[in-house]
């Protein structure tokens, strides 16, 4: 029998975000997609009428939350790619003599301690957050899904081994683990920007994969007994083919919803690490760094705008991804329809 009560603890929060945190969740994922998918290529699935994916799309576009979150995400994505569209000011040009000016005509969001324009820095800060969020989500989803698939499909000792491994990483508090990892591999002066971002991404990936792995494992276990999988196996299809053609497409739905929500969570995590002074570093411009500098008690009283604006942008970005993930979850999870 499947052990229903073990190894699915720390991911609870993330999983819960996807509305899946009832204790049985890890083994009770969304219903296997639909029998229509039997024998079809996964890519073809989305084009067919009434497939899970088209259904979900119809569901989603009726929700205002979907459009709000999508609009926000597009704005922030453009901001990340092309910040100069939003401001003509150089975020690195700072005049100390103009330190801590309140918001006004010249500086919409005021200036910070160094006399830099807060609006320009906030706009340029989007890039780091989006990059970390996207790549960490990719990393976690790919690794987590892979481990979950292998673990669930092959079972036996491999499952035990991978589950224990996941549990070890689960048991280490994520934030503390991230701090230790980033401390162990500090950036040198000549470290390129993308490597600095990459380290944060790697740290998050290393600590967060087990939650997706568990989710995937549970989904796979749910999908496996279905006739179409058994049939494919019986017809002599290779493991790889069965996984790619039959198991994965049907077990993916829950993971995608959770991954979207996690994207927001990782952006918040990056900001938290930067807030603690160990995530991104100068010359990277990041919301977390800005908030950290502004959140000293003396500055909160004398210049709260330095804290408010980056906080607002950060929270809106996180909110956008979490909203989108929620909408996707609702659409992909037939149980809640």
């Amino acid at each position: 029998m499947i052990d229903r009560r073990d190894h699915k603890d720390r991911g609870r929060r993330e999983q819960f975000l996807a509305g899946l945190a009832e204790p049985d969740l890890a083994v009770e994922p969304p219903e296997p997609a639909s029998d229509l998918l039997v024998g079809e290529e996964p890519t073809g699935a989305a084009d067919k009428p009434h497939s899970l994916w088209t259904d979900a799309w119809w569901q989603m576009r009726r929700r205002p939350m979907f459009w709000i979150s999508t609009a926000l995400i597009i704005i922030f994505a453009v901001m990340a790619v092309w910040p100069s569209l939003f401001t003509s000011l150089d975020p690195r040009y700072c005049l100390l003599a103009e330190s801590r000016q309140p918001p006004g005509r010249q500086h919409w969001f005021g200036t910070d301690i160094q006399g830099c324009d807060v609006y320009a820095r906030t706009v340029y800060g989007a890039r780091s957050s989006i990059l970390v969020g996207v790549f960490a989500t990719l990393g976690v989803t790919v690794i987590g899904s892979f481990v979950g698939l292998v673990s669930g499909y092959f079972g036996h000792w491999l499952d035990v081994l991978l589950s224990r491994l996941g549990e070890i990483f689960f048991a280490i508090p994520t934030l503390l683990g991230g701090i230790v990892i980033l401390y162990s591999f500090p950036s040198k002066p000549d470290t390129p920007y993308f490597v600095v971002v990459g380290k944060v991404v790697l740290a998050i990936t290393l600590l967060a994969w087990p939650s997706i792995a568990r989710l995937m494992r549970g989904s796979v276990l749910q999908v496996m007994p279905n006739e179409y999988v058994v049939a494919a196996q019986g017809l002599g299809a290779s493991s790889a083919r069965v996984i790619v053609s039959h198991v994965l497409p049907n077990a993916m739905a829950g993971v995608i919803a959770v991954a979207t929500i996690n994207l927001g969570v990782y952006i918040a995590l990056e900001a938290t690490l930067s807030f603690l002074g160990i995530g991104l570093q100068e010359p990277a411009i990041s919301w977390g760094i800005a908030i950290s500098a502004a959140s000293k008690m003396g500055y909160i009283t004398s210049a709260p705008h330095m804290l408010l604006f980056p906080s607002l942008f950060l929270s809106l970005t996180v909110l956008a991804f979490i909203m989108l993930g929620e909408v996707a979850r609702d659409a992909l999870d037939p149980k809640l329809r």
Binding site: L96, P186, E282, K296, M297
Partner: protein
């Protein structure tokens, strides 16, 4: 239960009465002795975790240093206001040639365990400190004494390898120290050392009691936690959260404390200490968080009469990386950078005026300071900076400015970089190392390019302490690897001078050589900003940014 409560109430009243009558030396009858504790005066001060055992040979940073100031006595004690050296345990220190010093001790000076401080306690302590295999970090302070070299290890980079006896020192005692009688000993220095007297007040030169040696000379053990020393106070409790000092009942020196208990509360974060002071939970805070210094917010919060500001024996500089090829043999480039830093604005805006723009390499708090030693190279002048920068050929690529991220240095580092970028259009970038350790590590491995932060807190109040340990050839804190024979010659000459004034003059000439070579960019002199609670009556804040325990009193 009710009865118990009443007893306590009565006891408290009795205690209050004792305070009210003042100067009650002893409780009139044996019955109420238990109440004395309530009448004891107590002050809580901002403390931090000592990095090493509380022994003079080991402690060399301010967290432990502040405690040693109260619990140790040396031959000399510095005046709390002028930092002038005054005789403490020493009755006299005499020399004819600045090489052979005869020290006479005051008889009857006691350690906190009641034993007398004798000449042997000094000589043994200093031998212990100097002997390298003991691993005491303060060993180098004894390096002027004859024979110090022979107490050092000869392994790789001075390592002591017990597996290879050949690397261990041949001798265990300094040739230059001789006990004459119980209260007299002589110090012989290898080179003339005109300011030895000033140095002898530093905590590294404290005597150690017999019990330290009879219990195995293990500073890392219990002795280092609850040491026996000859100061006005002694440590009675030492935990991770507080270190309690109480009056040393055997103290006979000239600088007794008046408050009965001084509690060093260990804080890891200055902001927490500040919050506690404002809330009335802490009586003395020796530094103020920079965000509170802005616009003098802190003075508005606690009130002017409960704050003190003043020059301190400290300096912060930017060290030029000795391994960065672009800086080598290009003093003009270094000076151009120095001229492009707007020290006035930065100290005002970022530090709320709690730093003074540096005009040399020596703190104004110290004997021998001469103003304007750095000249125009320490004054912000955009035009001159641009001209010099162009003439020097400029700096190609990214100029990094490395500071440790855990010390609140980011704000000013950003400001310095912005100042350089705006003035010279040099691509300046701040690099934060996670902490000071990493910075020191990279610095001593020569891995840093560009500029990096160095701070200096004086050990003893002498101009020499700002020059020799930082800029003399091969000195351990010489991160810029400065090496100039003229400078060396001046230092030697100054050390051999007949009197302090003469020596100071020669040291100032040495400092002037620094202005030419510009191995480091002087930034500013951190000043003391201290605040205290309304419980404190009289308080003197010293140039070492600490309170003077001998004048401290609380309101009754």
């Amino acid at each position: 239960m009710g009865f118990g409560t009443r007893t306590i109430a009565v006891a408290a009243l009795a205690a209050f009465a004792l305070v009210g009558t003042a100067c009650a030396q002893n409780s009139p009858d044996g019955q109420s002795t238990g109440d004395d504790s309530a009448a004891l005066t107590e002050v809580s001060v901002h403390g931090c975790t000592p990095q090493n055992p509380l022994v003079g040979a080991w402690t060399n940073e301010t967290c432990g240093g502040h405690i040693l100031d109260s619990i140790q006595s040396q031959l000399i004690r510095y005046d709390s206001k002028t930092m002038e050296p005054k005789l403490d345990i020493a009755e006299s220190i005499e020399t004819d040639d600045a090489k052979l010093f005869t020290v006479k001790l005051k008889p009857g000076y006691l350690f906190s365990d009641g034993t007398e401080v004798k000449a042997e306690n000094f000589v043994d302590a200093w031998n212990y400190t100097a002997y390298a295999p003991n691993g005491a970090p303060q060993s180098t302070f004894l390096s002027p004494v004859v024979g110090w070299d022979q107490l050092q290890c000869t392994g790789e980079e001075g390592a002591c390898d017990e597996a290879q006896p050949s690397t261990l020192p041949a001798k265990e005692t300094l040739d230059g120290l001789k006990v004459v009688d119980d209260h007299t000993f002589t110090i012989e220095t290898a080179e003339p050392t005109s300011n030895l007297l000033v140095r002898l007040g530093y905590t590294a030169f404290a005597p150690l009691p017999d019990v330290f040696f009879s219990s195995g000379a293990d500073a890392a053990g219990d002795f280092g936690k609850l040491p026996v020393a000859a100061g006005p106070y002694k440590v009675t409790e030492n935990t991770a959260t507080q270190i309690v000092l109480e009056k040393n009942e055997h103290y006979t020196g000239a600088f007794p404390g008046q408050v009965d208990r001084i509690v060093h509360r260990i804080y890891s974060d200055l902001a927490a200490g500040w919050a506690d002071l404002v809330a009335g939970n802490l009586d003395f805070l020796d530094a103020i968080p920079t965000d509170q210094l802005v616009d003098d917010a802190w003075i508005g919060i606690v009130g002017k009469d409960r704050t003190a500001s003043g020059v301190a024996g400290r300096i912060e500089v930017l060290t030029v990386s000795p391994t960065d090829p672009q800086f080598q043999n290009n003093p003009l480039l270094r000076q151009a950078l120095g001229e492009a830093i707007d020290r006035e604005t930065i100290t005002k805006v970022i530090f709320g005026g709690s730093r003074l723009p540096a005009d040399g390499w020596v703190s104004p708090a110290v004997d021998g300071y001469k103003s304007g030693q750095c000249g125009a190279a320490c004054v912000y002048d955009a035009d001159k900076a641009k001209a010099d920068y162009a003439a020097s050929g400029g700096y190609q690529g990214v100029l990094t400015l490395t500071v440790n991220g855990d010390g609140g240095h980011k704000d000013w580092a950003d400001a310095v970089c912005n100042s350089l970028r705006n003035t010279l259009e040099v691509d300046c970038q701040v690099v934060l190392t996670p902490d000071f350790r990493t910075l020191l590590n990279s610095a001593s491995n020569g891995e840093l390019t560009g500029l990096f932060r160095s701070g200096w807190v004086q050990d003893y109040p002498s101009i020499e302490n700002y020059l020799t340990p930082i800029y003399s050839r091969g000195a351990e804190s010489n991160y810029s690897r400065y090496d100039n024979p003229d400078f060396e010659a001046k230092l030697t000459e100054a050390a051999a001078a007949d009197d302090l004034d003469e020596a100071n003059k020669l040291y100032q000439e040495a400092e002037a050589i620094l202005a030419n070579d510009y191995p480091t960019l002087p930034l500013w002199y951190p000043t003391t900003s201290a605040a205290w609670s309304d419980k404190i009556d009289v308080i003197d804040v010293t140039p070492t940014s600490w309170l003077d325990t001998s004048s401290l009193t609380v309101k009754s």
